[in-house]
Amino acid sequence: MLKIKNLHVNAAGRPVLKGLSLEMKAGEVHAIMGPNGSGKSTLSYVLAGRDGYEVTDGTVEFMGQDLLSMEPEDRAALGLFLAFQYPVEIPGVSTTTFLKTALNAIRKKRGEKELEPAAFLKLQKQKIQQLGMDPEMMKRGVNVGFSGGEKKRNEVLQMAMLAPKLAIMDETDSGLDIDALKVVSEGVNALRGPETSFLVITHYQRLLDYIKPDIVHVLANGKIQKTGGPELALLLEEKGYADFYDATEAA
């Protein structure tokens, strides 16, 4: 479903990813852990197609297509979703309007009919309830005045509404309180299925107690340094990253 081969990426002229390879199958949950500045968000941005990152080498195949040659909106239509580490605010555009616009834009690109307003609202209501969100928030500008945790929840709501094939979650757990973490994780688990894969970026093993990964990767110094099962996350929690890469090489 996703095949990243030998990916090299420069940010502002400086190499950040230096030969990253990773493969995911449909329905799998992979976790990526790694020190600050190791390139986790960079990887998520490159996959989603953000400008400003220069791919100097490597390939990415997603759903059988050459992902790197596609526009961000086309990647979204193909089923790629990124829950941002730092979601943006869009004043004056209600979350409902935003979501309706997004969902219909994606449907249009896929050659599907626009969703009837009633059907949309029903779907939205159901997802809002599932995530324990206040429906009043949907009327406010996207993320405007939302608390850190509310923003993260709103990312998961959008993910649930757009029902992606691959959801990349960039530190969606940071900023969530214990209860929210549970609710959000349940929301994510409800989306799990044979067709849906998750790439979960996190610093904390705690999240992985709720969203059980199939595979855990350690990203450091621009590469996947180690890949293992859920036990790897526990090991990291205990020992830190030092054993997995040569920190002097990173600078």
Binding site: G52, P72, E73, I90, G92, A102, I106, L162
Partner: protein, 485 residues
Amino acid sequence: MSNAAIAPETLETIKALDKYEAGFVTDIESDFAPKGLSEDIIRFISAKKNEPDWMLESRLTAYRHWLTLPEPEWANVSFPPVDYQDAYYYAAPKTAAAPKSLDELDPKLLETYKKLGIPLREQEMLNGIAVDAVFDSVSVVTTFREKLHSAGVIFCSISEAVQKYPDMIKKYMGSVVPYTDNKHACLNAAVFTDGTFVYIPEGVRCPMELSTYFRINEAKTGQFERTLIVAEKKSYVSYLEGCTAPKRDENQMHAAVVELIAMDDAEIKYSTVQNWYPGDENGKGGIYNFVTKRGICKGARSRISWTQVETGSAITWKYPSCVLLGDDSVGEFYSVALTNNYQQADTGTKMIHIGKNTRSRIIAKGISAGKSNSTYRGLVRIAQKAENARNYTQCDSLLIGDLCGAHTVPYIENKNPTATLEHEATTSKISDKTLFYCRQRGIPEEEALTLIVNGFCKEVLQHLPMEFAVEAQKLVAISLEGSVG
């Protein structure tokens, strides 16, 4: 919003808005005044309209004063000196010298308005909005006359009002914007050709929205319209105006004067969707929109609210204002000014607080794209006797790209210590990150830009009547087309 610069590819494509759908010319035979401006031309216009002597005299007085006035130079706009002799001051379709009923109207004119999205006939049938259609220098038709008449509302062209209601015209025309006010208003007082007169009697709530649709058609022709709205005690009216012009390489002058008068407990809502031809992507052509609009809240508890969406014109110079004379009167100004390419807009308002407990509210949103320049200029004046006056001003500027400019020039003159004045101003840029966020959700770049800009304007657009709000949103989208992607 973050300040991260917009991507170079995006900038690269901030260019042509060649989507000006109103840019066509109607092929119709017109009657012109000889080219140029002189006392003879003014006599010509006055004779064409069969005006009484007092009207001609008032025009000539204004003209003589105009000759002595300097051009206003304080606005943040630049353009070569206007050659007043190189234009026609009167042009009218031969078939439409005086307003006719819809059945008598030249089909070409019906067709023109239909193409502009104002199907006069259907509108009449759908019982929608009453329209005064002004084509170059004349009002060609006003709809729903009977229905309005039976409610006691007068809705007719200003030329007709000069003939039929001379006492009201003498009493009110020039009472809010005297010919001495500024050079453009003075020229209008001398050469105005048509426009709309509205009178709402005491206690009447106007049964429908009133509107005027201004169309410039002929080349080298200026349009100088005059609108006068009088709302008697406890009356209410909502009035809309729209305007368009053909695409031409030349600059054409549009110098209008609008006067509003609200008596005790009366309310006037005045909305504008200004879509004059803005010029091409190189700044060639477009309308010079030099407009003086002012309302007076004469009576206690009266209310005047201006809402404007300015997307067109090469240059916009207008400051719809409120004189808050009556105690407890309220003035409001809601504005969206969108400039792209080489457009220049210097617009804002004046709120003059004279009565006690007067309140005013200003929400101004400026959006600049391309190489355009947008300035908000506002004055809040609290007179000595205006006890407990309050003003709230909010000016927000949104920049698209790095080559445009946005400026905010607020003036405050306060002579009363009990006044409460609040002012907020922000400038932001549509960041690369925000656009990316939308695109990641599947929204194409251009649609994302429109979504963000309409969100930015929401507080203003929601003050427009329903049908116009939808129109205005579309217009914002069209005006931004070509800005990205």
